[in-house]
Symmetry: C2
Subunit: 217 residues, 2 copies
């Protein structure tokens, strides 16, 4: 029996994509089995943590043997929901929106981009890898009779909340926000923020720390 989604902590969930990535690499190297200890060596988590993490979802290993790489990869793919298909729309067809639309790996994993939406007339009408850039005013009409799972916000901060509200009305089930603001969404909508500046500011902090340490050792 597969136990899934009990109440697994977000800390564990955020490690799953890394397992997924590493197992993929192992498969490409034709490694067929791996122990938690070996995996620990390459992934940087303790062997204990790896076993704990995996056991949130089921016993995928075998005592005395370890884990079958291919099987574990398949399981984690399933746990992450990568065996499903998702329809997405991207709002904002600037460089970032285009970058995401162009990222063919997402398509491979089942994330299909239906269209990009823009207000800049220069961009409307373009095609990004066969995906049309449409007028933002057409969004509501476009989404009728379609099931849109994920809305991606690639606009500037000023428009992000407006766009979020429009997406919620479609409705979408999740919002992937790249604008550097904290948008407000209904509780039941999955929200994931990618605040690039936060990440850059952490670099800045760490560089400053390093500099200070060199001065006062």
């Amino acid at each position: 029996m597969k136990k899934d989604h009990k109440d697994v902590s977000m800390a564990v969930i955020r490690r799953l994509p890394k397992y997924h990535r590493r197992l993929k690499e192992l498969m490409e190297k034709d490694v067929t089995r791996i122990s938690s200890k070996e995996l620990s060596g390459m992934i940087g988590f303790t062997a204990s943590q790896i076993r704990q993490d995996l056991n949130c979802f089921g016993g995928f290993g075998q005592q005395g043997y370890g884990y079958d790489v291919s099987e574990l990869y398949t399981e984690i793919s399933r746990i992450l929901g990568l065996t499903e298909h998702y329809n997405t729309v991207i709002v904002g067809a600037g460089n970032l929106g285009q970058a995401i639309a162009n990222y063919s790996n997402f398509e491979k994993k089942g994330f299909h981009v239906l269209a990009l939406f823009e207000k800049n007339p220069r961009l409307i009408g373009l095609k990004i890898r066969d995906v049309p850039v449409l007028d933002i005013d057409e969004l509501e009409e476009f989404a009728k009779n379609k099931s849109v799972d994920i809305g991606v916000i690639c606009t500037n901060s000023e428009n992000a909340q407006d766009v979020a509200d429009q997406l919620v009305k479609l409705p979408v089930k999740a919002v992937w926000n790249f604008a550097p603001v904290d948008i407000i969404l209904p509780e039941n909508i999955v929200q994931e923020n990618v605040h690039l500046s936060d990440s850059l500011f952490v670099i800045s902090y760490l560089l400053k720390m390093q500099r200070d340490e060199q001065q006062n050792p």
Copy 2:
């Protein structure tokens, strides 16, 4: 006396940019003072956590009053090192590299993009907001006599480690990696990864969970 950088946990550090962002918003609304309780209401951390976080770096508040918004903003900017100037180079001038080069907010915060580097001849010679796109083979020569603080990797996975190695040789002090692989760097180099697919996969997981819950309530 300002206590900085003792051994503040990464959990705290990763919250700092969010304080920074919210305080900016408050300043724009001409709010001059705020209590940890009020801030808690808008930012979603407990008041207790906010006070704990800030006290890692010093006592910026005043009993009975709260915090001076503008002063706290300035302090957090300083703690994050945003009062410094950083030179950056971006390797990979595709949509993502261009998006980052175009992001004028970074420039405002002191992150100056010296140049982008590309191997695709169609892109070499372009200018992104006055920033030239140069041949990747010119990187080493270009960096001579220049102090490059941050190298940004916007290439595909295949080239990411090579590029990282080149950046380390320049040298750079930090690597900001957008390729969906785990690159290996010397210990003393600051590394920050933005794995977009990880973020998307977490959305996928949460959507799947939500679906499952609706079926087995």
